[in-house]
Amino acid sequence: MEFIDAFIRSAPIFGQGLLITLALTGLTIVFSVILGLIILGLKVSRFTPLNWFANTYLAIVRGMPLIALLFVIYFGIVNIIRVDAFTAATIGLSIHTSAYMAEIFRSGLSSVPKGQTEAARSLGMSRVQTLRKVISPQALRVVVPALANQAILSLKDSSVAAFITVEELFLTAQRLSAASFQPLTFYTIVSIYYLAVVGIMTLIAQRVERYYGKRG
């Protein structure tokens, strides 16, 4: 069959694209979690200018299409310092995703009943100890499904990096379809790669959820 033949022959090229997609997604998740937590910290801080900064950041990032954000960063930063497309894409995707991460963590924190804080504080635990030992573990459990969902979105969002010339999965498909005049074949193949990775991520997420479900 022609399709299977094309799939097998393109596998080495797509393999390289897949590695870049995975690297981009992995870095995006790590940085967006860190950035999201920082933004959340600023948002709930008792120092008002920091709240203001966080809210402005969230409004801008959430209001901007991802592709516009990537273009602004890629073509904007290039004027200041030399960065390659991959770095620009990592920065853009991390900023974009951080807004959603902040929101996910916020909802996690507010899902923990007030009585938990009161119980911890009335034992003499400090604000930080309460957050670390009592609130965060419970909040984390609640946000696992949303985090998994966001991770999957990040994988798919990473395809936008193709438009600033990152040689990831989607750009690979574009190149192959242009060269072979078989767009249907190669866009179908690239979708299979995305589907497979999403499938694996979903399995991992289910494992994590089950692990947390068992305890308490």
């Binding site: 009585g115 009161e118 119980a119 635990m125 400090s126 308490g216």
Partner: protein
């Protein structure tokens, strides 16, 4: 006269326009078991929560062993180390086992080694009759057992004062006894306790002092026999009359 364990002077507390505590004076001597009763909305829980600073007074003072309570993070934490609190909804930490619930604060706050904290936890859980449940998560325990873990958790800090906020109100009737039993045992051991409760029989048996709150003020206070059996004020009579009808 000895310094009272708790002394509240001219306490005023309002939530928005609602006046909850209106110039209340209240004190508890070391070793005393003080029970707060009264209709719902009378301010019993608020008064209790003001003692350990979970609620802040608008004006007036709270003194613990003669030390005026300051609403600063560090001062509050230091005071709370020595003041245990038990809540109506237990508020156990659901992600920790019974033993971890009990051992957490001694480790985090008192700086106990984890083995020492565990040992203390096991001893205290045995004391409340839960020696066989140390590795259970709260969700696997009955309400009565959860509340006993919550009491153990507070006791693990070796408090000099225990506050109980309607500790049996969320329990099925058949589980109330086991919690009251533990509290009675604590009272017998000389623990200073302030208890908000609707269990009149328990109040009568265990309390040294009963304080009847109504409409943000103290309607009547004294030994249980006087307040509960021979109330002088009209408000107290009305409240007790209502309760006895049930």
């Amino acid at each position: 006269m000895t310094t009272p364990r708790v002394r509240i002077t001219q306490a005023v507390k309002s939530f928005g326009p609602t006046m909850v505590l209106d110039s209340i004076d209240f004190s508890v001597q070391p070793g005393e078991v003080s029970v707060l009763v009264g209709p719902s909305g009378a301010g019993k829980s608020t008064l209790l929560r003001c003692i350990n600073g979970l609620e802040r007074l608008n004006s007036g003072t709270v003194e613990i062993d003669g030390e005026v309570l300051e609403y600063k993070e560090k001062a509050l934490n230091q005071m709370r180390e020595h003041v245990g609190m038990v809540f109506q909804q237990f508020n156990l930490f659901p992600h920790l086992t019974a033993l971890e619930n009990v051992a957490l604060a001694p480790q985090m706050v008192s700086g106990l080694e984890s083995t020492a904290a565990r040992e203390r936890g096991v001893t205290i859980l045995e004391r409340v009759g839960l020696g066989d449940k140390i590795d259970s998560y709260p969700s696997a325990l009955s309400g009565g057992q959860q509340q006993r873990v919550a009491i153990a958790r507070a006791l693990a800090m070796e408090p000099k004062l225990m506050l109980f906020d309607e500790p049996t109100s969320a329990l099925d009737p058949e589980l109330v006894g086991e919690v009251l039993q533990v509290m009675r045992q604590l009272a017998d051991e000389g623990m200073t306790m302030v208890i908000v409760t609707h269990e009149m029989r328990f109040a009568r048996q265990v309390a040294d002092t009963v304080t009847l709150l109504a409409d943000g003020g103290i309607a009547e206070a004294g030994p249980p026999a006087e307040v509960l059996d021979n109330p002088q004020t009209e408000r107290a009579q009305a409240f007790l009359h209502q309760i006895n009808e049930h």
